[in-house]
Symmetry: C2
Subunit: 353 residues, 2 copies
């Protein structure tokens, strides 16, 4: 008998994938599911290996108080405790600390795939994961450009999905992401700005913002200084902001990149839409390295992870800061709780052509 998430009508179900075993991911996972408030707020269904999780619990110095099943079809219908679907997919003797390995990549990709499929089947309202190592992911899955590509492959969905960074109540969306800086300017268009602004608006509404105020960053130093150092502000970005306002979005700017986050810090906006990756990441990591969350928005359910990486340099020492992982889980829970059902959050998804 399948246990459906409707079995627990109060708490949303979050599928949690264990990340790369070579760094701090396993200790973060063990520590996270030991937190009383997290356990109370969500029904957690975890995907990974019991032996690796036990090692993580030892490092973190926490006791594992969970149920374990061999397959997700055997999940107990009602339990207050997190459940591990023990995939028995990584022998601890195959873990090489602080190195990206094929074994580690296989473990993390399988856990993530199973968590995504579980949510896609309507059995969880959201997905969270502890950090992956991109090199290891590529060893296991050569087409692994980034999380979005992998998720789209697994879900067989071609969604206009994007990575957002969330720090407390401030969001950061971006028009371009994992491309060379040399290619950024050519990728900025009015259409791209409007699409990303609309997606940010939709994702933030799904997270409970009634009418998110989105400040748009300029591309060039001093916002181009009236056309002296680039014309994108005059020709593309300012017209896009004007059109967004006409369409009813609470869009602001464009503001010079070096003051837009000072404005954000003062509370003048709820989000900053940046033109490229580092424009936002420099600010967000500086403002809260230990609390930043990466949220993949645009798929039928929220997918969240801490913004930091696998921290190979401090793995196994029990000193990893849980802050960002907690925030990632809390954001997934928050968005999952807003949606009446996972199906209702699905209008943006369409089958891949």
């Amino acid at each position: 008998m399948q246990s459906h998430h409707a079995a627990d009508s109060v708490r949303p179900t979050i599928a949690l994938a264990m990340g790369d075993p070579g760094g701090i991911s396993s200790e973060l996972a063990a520590k996270l599911i030991a937190q009383d408030d997290i356990r109370a707020a969500a029904r957690i269904v975890m995907f990974g290996d019991m032996r690796i999780l036990e090692d993580g619990a030892k490092v973190a110095g926490v006791a594992l108080d969970i149920d374990t099943v061999g397959t997700e079809d055997a999940l107990p219908a009602r339990t207050p405790r997190p459940v591990l679907v023990d995939l028995k997919n990584l022998d601890p003797s195959d873990v090489t600390p602080a190195v990206p390995t094929l074994a580690g990549g296989r473990f993390a990709t399988e856990n993530f795939r199973r968590a995504l499929q579980y949510a896609a089947a309507g059995r969880a309202h959201g997905v969270a994961f502890t950090p992956f190592n991109k090199k290891a992911m590529r060893l296991a899955y050569p087409g692994y450009d980034d999380e979005i590509r992998f998720i789209a492959d697994v879900l067989k969905l071609d969604c206009p999905a994007r990575e957002f960074n969330v720090l407390d109540e401030l969001w950061n969306a971006r028009v371009t992401s994992h491309i060379a800086l040399a290619e950024v300017a050519a990728a900025i268009s009015k259409d791209a700005i409007l699409r990303n602004l609309a997606l940010a608006d939709a994702c933030m509404r799904a997270a409970g913002f009634a009418r998110p105020r989105i400040a748009v960053a300029a591309l060039n130093p001093h916002a181009g200084d009236g056309g002296n150092f680039g014309r994108e502000e005059i020709d593309i970005i300012a017209p896009a902001v004007r059109e967004a306002v006409e369409r009813g979005y609470a869009a602001l700017g464009p503001y010079p990149a070096d003051t837009v986050f000072v404005r954000a810090k003062r509370g003048e906006c709820d989000a900053v839409l940046t033109m490229y990756h580092d424009q936002g990441q420099i600010a967000m990591k500086l403002m809260g390295f230990d609390r930043g969350v990466t949220y993949v928005g645009g798929f039928p359910f929220p997918i969240c992870t801490p913004a930091h990486g696998t921290a190979y340099d401090i793995g196994g020492r029990g000193i990893a800061n849980l802050g960002a992982t907690r925030q990632a889980m809390l954001l997934a829970i928050r968005i999952a709780s807003q949606a009446p059902s996972s199906a209702a959050a699905r209008p943006q998804g369409r089958a891949a052509s």
Copy 2:
């Protein structure tokens, strides 16, 4: 009889130019020269108009305790008080608040020119100025690209000069500055990185750092992710850092742009060399908008100003924060005090060809 700065053997002489009259510059100037510690640390020779300075003092709520002369040749040889060289170059009735004007630009460019010439004649050890408005400067001096161009024109020197941003003990140097983002990648070369690193090192030694640790930022997101999002790190930046280390510089990196300032904040380096303007400015303004200093290095004497602008929105209200202006003056004094004489700091300057 000329009064030479040697007349006051303890305090260096700083030439202070009054900036744009439409914003907060005049009140900052009046407030600055009223500070006891600043007056004690430097002999200040100010260039501007007494009527404008009096208006600034009224707004700032400070009393002017200064000497006034009509020409710098009439300067008193010894006085504990700041001296204004009253150029009588702006009637208060010609000041339009909160607007860049030709009158304001003429006032600021003349004050700045006189201050620079005064230092170039060996009569001051450094120059400071309250904020300019770039539009107004261009109305008065159409060739005004930025401060560096103007200074080079006035001094008739073709120096390898650069703008540095200084926040407390952290410096930010950059390889490219006021150019469009689309042009940045093509302007990054090993030679440009090494030249700017060497200049940063020299300027920081002049400011008292024995062996400045300079962290070099990457260009692309995730430092290019092993070549997946750009190859500049592999082909250009990492080799430049290696060569800098071989040449004896304390160069570090390259580090991803979104973590290099987190490292700097932790004290891992004394400076960050960024590849483009906003890469550093986003971080520096976020870390200390009210204390950041712009230092023009590479000319025969230090030239400092607050990193913020004319703040037209709060001019005349007496609420301007003096913090960055104080820091600018203190940095000019610190560098001026290190140099045995202004002539000794001149090796980098060469006559324009």
